[in-house]
Symmetry: C2
């Protein structure tokens, strides 16, 4: 089928999954890491940095933006893409909570 049964899961589960999915591609990880490396962030830089066509990168940026992982503000003729800190903070917390839960486990 190929169609995810989104409605059978909680909003929280769908949210985490969609964020994780957005991070589930090496190009998008590379984009995030590049945005962290340089302090200013313009899309054309990324096009030079990655071995992908401009249209492909634009698509990846869109997915990262839809997932709330980056935000873009128009800066003249180019766009300043930046990390959306709160989403990453949320992820960090999510995994921190998992670690706490695991440490309380008796199993295995």
């Amino acid at each position: 089928m190929g169609v995810t049964k989104t409605n059978h899961f909680t909003d929280q589960q769908n949210k985490i999954a969609s964020i994780a999915k957005a991070l589930g591609h090496p190009a998008r990880i590379a984009i995030i890491e590049y945005l962290l490396k340089v302090n200013a962030c313009i899309c054309s830089d990324i096009v030079d940095e990655l071995p992908l066509a401009q249209s492909t990168i634009s698509q990846h940026l869109k997915e990262l933006k839809n997932a709330g992982l980056i935000k873009g503000s128009i800066e003249g003729t180019s766009i300043c893409y930046c990390i959306e800190e709160t989403t990453f903070a949320m992820l960090k917390q999510y995994f921190a909570d998992i670690i706490v839960s695991v440490n309380n486990q008796k199993c295995c």
Copy 2:
């Protein structure tokens, strides 16, 4: 094309992406959360818990296992699936480092 250009990215980037990808489905998030909730973990429980066929869940478990997010040990006729703590600890650290990087940013 639909074929990810894995070889153009670093091993670390591909690794993080593949782990994130494995978490990029609500059923797999639900499985992880279920494994955390109950302390013992048998697949048939999960089949009762989730609105998916047994074969589908088995597939999801396989992907989580391949990504190193869970481990399964044979327990008689069933299998005890558990959280692989080190992988989650790695993820937590990865996001923690990102937060630190973002806080050092001057941009935006």
